[in-house]
Amino acid sequence: MTRKFFSLSREGRRAARALALGLALSLGGALALNGPALAQSSVVVQDGRREAIPIAVPNFAGGDLGRQIAEVISADLERSGLFKPIPAGTFPQSPDQLQAQPAFPSWRGAGADALVAGKVVPQGGKTAFEFRLWELNSEQQMTGTAFTADTANWRRVAHIIADTIYNKLTGDTGYFDTRVVYVSESGPKNRRVKRLAIMDQDGANHRFLTSGKDLVLTPRFSPRDQTITYMSYFNDKPRVYLFNIDTGQQEVLGDFPGMTFAPRFSPDGNRVVMSMARDGNTDIYGIDLRTRKFNRLTTSPAIDTSPSFSPDGSQIVYNSDQGGSQQLYVMSAGGGGGKRISFGDGRYATPVWSPRGDYIAFTKMKGGRFMIGVMKPDGSGERILTESFLDEGPTWAPNGRVIAFFRQSPGASGSVKLYSVDVTGFNERLMPTPLDGSDPAWSPLNP
């Protein structure tokens, strides 16, 4: 299932997404697609950390819009930590000169390894966007694309271009054309107002999805459509809900006699796993979204919660205190006994399987500190990525390279903010939100 998802060709998905955007995608022959396979040649790995690639992202030709596009692309690449955009003051050519012919030695002299050259041309109410990526040492074009889109979609076009550059130069799938749903927080800690909110991964296009009247927690994206599952205290009955982002429609999920919480979609989007607590016992249940039938997956008298599917859908990692303290366990997606995988010193919680399948991210509590870490699905290779008074709730970018989480600072007036960190533990960044934020969930690549 997942293998299929990830082997679906880049261009195939690009085309599908372009269609959804209303783009007339034309991969113009004039752009001489795909030069020699230079993709990995610019990447240097040192101690598990990639050297940032110096790249020049001058304004696209075509006025303000050309400048704005370049700014979004440059900011995306810089934020990833894998690119170092060189300062605009060092650019040897104007956007128009660049369109005629890149002066390769001059750009190399400015310190860049790669160069992005593009232009935007108004086209009957829409805009034609065109870009090329040059590898400066070989003076080869690595890729080039031209497409037409509604001008209002320019930010998405910029993210798609940034994803293409990221892919060509690192070999990994990009993650810039994505969104983050999270819980926006305001007010005093004992009367916190919490609202679902959604934004592009760079913080743009922020909007609130719920009013704040009801306490809401732990939103998660469907990997397949515009649906979020989350927990709401609507009518004083804490239950798991579905929320359709396009229509705003909400519905309670299942008719459970007790509190339901900790929901998460299966990789095919057809199921939701969650916890139900009743009479002091919390177990994990699965519900089929097509039939609405549910089945119980754990039966221990312990607290079993925070389930997360492996990307092939065959296994579930979850949090249980069946051994006396909170630890991570893996069981078959059909239920049955779990096998403990966390054996380090401390308590482990909120496991989330990487969409790549290679790691499980978690929250670890040890010595009064909270950490975000990763381990392999068999429990080996544990690495701690972040640590503070309270770091919690990792979520993976769809390429499995970047993790977002939230960080709370102590005290009555402590803040709660979203952060991202590379899976290597480097490049920790604040993710700006209008108010405080918690419980981030990264979307799949936008459709």
Partner: protein
Amino acid sequence: MRFTHPGYKIASLVAALFVVAACSSTPESAPTGGSTGAASAYAPGSQEDLAANAGDSVFFDLDQYNLKPEGQSTLQAQAAWLAKYPAVTLTIEGHCDERGTREYNLALGERRANAARAYLISLGVDANRLQVISYGKDRPFAVGSDEGAWAQNRRGFSRVN
């Protein structure tokens, strides 16, 4: 420490006094208002009445949900108080401190609320009068980040419906 529920200080004091009252099997002798100036400030069978005359909260140790002797005493007083007001129903809120993860704390809060509920039922309170809800760490009583505040937040709070 900052207490955000005004009834708390009174409640803990009165609960301590009521251990004696409950053990001497005379809980019904508690004033129902009017006997003192302070007592007349609340209606019989109200949240304030519960807080003043039985105690509205039981407290738990870190990561635990077993009732402590003080908590059992408070619940004994609550059972006696409920016997006096048969029309009153309670929702027992389970709460946790901030030193745990959100989802696990939702489950732990539910365990705590149910521990209190089960004890009240064992004392003869009709199960249908007792609902539970867990807020995990999301509705703390004390907003500080120290052991005193955390102890306040590991709580089963009985809310009069």
